[in-house]
Symmetry: C2
Subunit: 264 residues, 2 copies
């Protein structure tokens, strides 16, 4: 059992692909959005070019364990990029709609300018891990990743949110499984919702849309991540993500738009 | 001639829509990406619900003046949102592929928390306008909008870039045309490329992908905007945009991924 095996896709004829939502990648029975996105993107890559550069997903319905079908359609094959859309569905019902551009490789050029730094974090062993709890909180998916939060951002688990809608921490797959571009799509959606650290009523904030840019392939080792929210307005909030590798390079950038549950 | 008239779409049967890329919305003959996105989104709204919440566009080929066809397809109609994809094409050739979610109205709830401020700008009359030049630079589209830059960010026009890949300024449509959610899609792509203010060889940076979140309908008046880049890496750069209205509310947030031209 690995992320790679659990996101595998298989050609099913007529340009479609089969896969399955596997057990253990869920939050209270609902598959993680980044995990679903990774399954969809693997089918899109199989239909076009191997490396995702920019992928957008709109989440339509929660995904439960079981078979899924992905129907990618190449929109345009260009010189450097191929643009593909895809529907990931279960029993004929769409769960995720995707649009992305794919290329031969993600390392297309040198670093010209970076006006940012990776988040400051104590070493991984000084950052507490979010441990999975069967069927509850923290969710099962925390058994598939090793997510170690900045101590200041961890206290929400014992009822003391930092007051800032932000999470910083280290991330890797369990068993030291290498992180490829598809695992980065998981990485940008696997931290707790930023709102858990705001001094607001805690609520799950379902993702409407998530866009991830893969900026380069990560070096082996830990990912250093930061997710933050600046605007909780109009019934929505954005979560901006940055994922850096151990060599201090930005490997992915993400933004999602999530819905604030309506007050009763 | 107005933005509204120049982005109008007309049902053409079979669920498709006709429109046209009109003269004057271009940069050296190529239609502005945000303008194309607005045409596409108007067809998507006509096919679903009136207000765009999150729209992503992948740009496939430059758009020249002339008729275009938009084929939207509703992916899912939910309780609050309808998700739609669309292809905008010219003479059977796709120019833009879009994916978005639409709702009845964009003001879905109150402001809960904002950890940011609109960009500091001198009053509009103290910010120099980018004046259009027929067929050259600045481009024709600057005749359709009134774009007034922060004086520090304007000096690039006389060969003195600020050294920071950032533009701050005021924006409105000419003739005081009201700015609706579709005009916000133009707003997030109409400022000069941020790279023009970096101390780098000036180059057009074609947009691969642009995602815009419409956070609320703007109040009448000027938009207060900021576009900035932090990472020029791997042959790509992101441009993050914030658009605020005169009442100091964030009305749109955007990010685009653009390609850095290859060195010769």
């Amino acid at each position: 059992m690995s992320f790679r095996a659990d996101t595998e896709v298989r050609a099913a004829g007529d340009g479609a692909y089969e896969s399955a939502i596997r057990d253990g990648w869920d939050v209270v029975g609902k598959a993680n959005g980044g995990y679903l996105m990774a399954i969809g993107a693997r089918a899109m890559a199989a239909a076009s070019r191997p490396h995702p550069v920019s992928v957008t997903a709109h989440f339509l319905a929660p995904g439960e364990v079981g078979p899924v079908r992905i129907e990618p359609a190449v929109v345009k094959q260009g010189r450097r990029l191929t643009t593909v859309r895809a529907t990931l569905s279960r029993a004929g019902s769409p769960l995720v709609e995707l649009l992305g551009s794919f290329t031969e490789r993600t390392d297309l050029g040198e670093t010209v300018r970076v006006d940012a730094r990776p988040p400051e974090l104590p070493p991984p062993e000084e950052c507490p891990r979010i441990e999975p709890t069967a069927g509850g909180f923290p969710p099962a998916i925390m058994g598939r990743v090793e997510l170690r939060l900045h101590p200041d951002d961890f206290a929400f688990t014992s009822g003391r949110p930092s007051g800032r809608p932000e999470f910083r921490g280290w991330l890797r797959l369990v068993d030291d499984e290498p992180i490829d571009a598809f695992a980065l799509l998981l990485a940008v959606d696997v931290f707790p919702p930023t709102i858990f650290n705001a001094n607001l009523p805690v609520a799950w904030t379902p993702t409407l849309e998530l866009t991830a840019h893969v900026r380069c392939e990560p070096a082996p080792g830990w990912l250093r991540c930061r997710f933050s929210t600046r605007f909780i307005t109009g019934g929505m909030l954005e979560e901006d993500g940055e994922v850096w590798d151990e060599q201090g390079r930005l490997v992915a950038q993400s933004r999602q738009l999530a819905l604030l549950p309506r007050r009763r």
